[in-house]
Symmetry: D2
């Protein structure tokens, strides 16, 4: 096991993020060991389901960007502003164009991306993030985003360390590689470090119960989002 | 047909609201002639489904209040502020307590109301209203609320004017009476009048295409919300 | 000294509100013993200055209502929503109409109220409240409003207990009476009680330094607002 | 006169931006021909005044970034999001670091930048932008920012084309060069083009009266901001 992986695993169990994961561990397991994830690891996931997942994920990422923009608005310091603005900039200029290329590789046409019908799963999750991000302060906002950022990396690590995983002719290999890459784990670590700093600054301890509720709802919505490829569109 | 009913029907077909209804008429019919509505009219709707519907509707109303509060924030004039504040005040001090009494009549216990698990249908709709209300201006906000306010009244009118309706021993008679009452129709008319004033003031004509999209999404989410009594909770 | 006054004085020195007042006591004194207040107590304040003060205060109250509306939006519970909605409703339906009547008594015409030019003092204070109310959570919001709510009552109490006050033919007697009335002190007490509940619920202790900064800025802006009757309009 | 200057001048008189400038031309002249600007052009502006102006301008830019972040949140399309995110990114990573270097050149110490006391002029302007940006939609937001973006460039052009300008040993030469540079004029042109696109998309014509009021208030606050170097701090 590489040092980056070891460090990431260790960080996932420490601090506020470790506490939040432990305190909703049943939900956390359902999220990280979802049927969708298993079929992805085995390479048995139907192509059509993955395609719809990619399209809904694209719309999700656009609203995720809007939440990062609200984080800039809600930042108190120049450093906080720079941090969130940099995440936003990378999402819009690196991740999203990559995501579109990836959609093309999976045979999704350009006009399909421009006219994606929405699912309940997508709307419930993305609009929940946006409205709660507006209602609370920067700590309330960032706790909502953590399940997404750390969950995908944890899933990536679980998949590559599972002997049952199909590593030879898996059509989803590039997806697995992405979320278990040193680059992605680096982003995860940076996010977790920043989260702990914000937690202290904004008094997370005395606000723990509410933060846990928000985190848990976000985890449940992530879990339902795995099923988005089978969901009915509006 | 009473004059109030006649006037309400007439207003539903005029102005911007008439245009919006016509331009998404397929969706509008699916909303106003939904299976849930038919079973309610026949009195065949399962009690358990209605109970869960009432509970989800309670949570919906709480977020509806938050949207009305945002309308006060977004108001430009004293008159606009007073209008939305008055709606908010009545919702919190009349409608919601009435809703809770009604829940009790249907055998729902107090602690069930205090710990309602959420459905995707509820979250998708309520959080969509909240986040879009923040993103746009007062006209964007009010157009999102119209399907709810006028749709329930239109459904009430459809039910009472349909000869197939069970009017003798229908367990849902009080619900039907409420949304076809002169009082409710009065609220509808007032809302429609106010909507037309806001539409002109905020330049709805040149913004029509976007307003229609928002209205239509709201209609679709209302339609899915009818099914909330059969939906799985988070 | 009546019991209501005694209790109000006592509450002002306890809990979080007492701590905040003490920790910016120099600013607090400048606010509560401002030249404007002294001239008001002596009855020597120029009429024109008071008139412009009333008009700017009217505009301030309108934005104060918008902040209360944001409080409803940011509320987590039904009780919080009802509390802030009730404050909002009273402001729009009782205080503001009273304020307009009072303006008329002071010879201000209706059209003057409809076209009030804005001062820097007004904009700095009211827009600061609004933008910070959006940026933070409910506790951040409510701490910003405290200097206004409790300061006016404290000023009222100081004036009526000061032997130097002109109590016989003071043109500002009704203003003094209002802010030292049992009714106003009752509102103050209710606000202070509610503030302490919110403080605990939202973890004020670990967030104290930031809350103090917000409170202090609000106090300074209140202080400058006393001078608004002499200020230049935009 | 270079082509870039000619094109910029031409764009300033066309479309919605031309109409807005003309319809508040008295205010626009007071803004662009302010005493501060004249003393800057002559090189007679007191150094201390310029230093305080730079510090307040730094705080202004931070809140300007927050408004750009809100623009990302309020964007409807990917292209709009990318546009505003890119402006935000450049401000935080190029403009603001440059501004700090420039402050150092003018003898302002690092800790002075970290503890800048605020003026009424700064608060009134920056908080007005933030709160109105929240209240309205993307068009309301962008119209508020135009006076700042185009005004500084117009001032730069006026100064360099004025024979009275001290171009030989002017201590403010670098400031003048910056805002009359081809690079800055390029940004201005891009902003004006984008503004016209947004104007059409969001129905500016039917909303003109309100947009003009917002624009005019922003111009007046810009005008007062020129005097910030002589203003009293909170």
């Amino acid at each position: 096991m590489s040092i980056v992986i070891k460090n990431t695993r260790s960080m996932l169990n420490k601090g506020l993020i470790g506490r939040l994961r432990r305190d909703c561990q049943v939900d956390w397991r359902q999220f990280t060991y979802h049927r969708f994830v298993k079929e992805l690891a085995l390479g048995t996931l139907p192509k059509e389901e993955f395609q719809q997942f990619l399209l809904q994920d694209y719309l999700y990422l656009l609203d995720f960007c809007r939440v990062e923009a609200l984080a800039v608005f809600k930042s108190r310091s120049f450093e906080e502003m720079q941090y969130f603005s940099s995440v936003l900039h990378d999402l819009l200029n690196i991740e999203l164009p990559l995501h579109i290329s990836y959609c093309h590789e999976w045979g999704i046409q350009k006009d399909a991306i421009e006219n994606i019908p929405k699912t309940l799963e997508l709307l419930a999750y993305s609009q929940y993030l946006l409205s709660k991000a507006m209602q609370g302060d920067l700590l309330d906002l960032i706790v909502l985003l953590m399940p997404c950022v750390i969950g995908y990396g944890e899933v990536g690590l679980n998949i590559i360390s599972d002997s049952a995983t199909n590593m030879h002719n898996n059509p989803y290999q590039s997806w697995i590689n992405m979320y278990s890459s040193e680059e992605y784990l680096g982003i995860m670590q940076k996010t977790m470090s920043f989260f702990e700093i914000i937690s202290t600054k904004y008094g997370a301890e005395q606000r723990y119960q509410h933060l846990l509720e928000q985190f848990q709802t976000s985890v449940k919505l992530e879990t339902l989002f795995w099923g988005v490829g089978q969901a009915i569109c509006l």
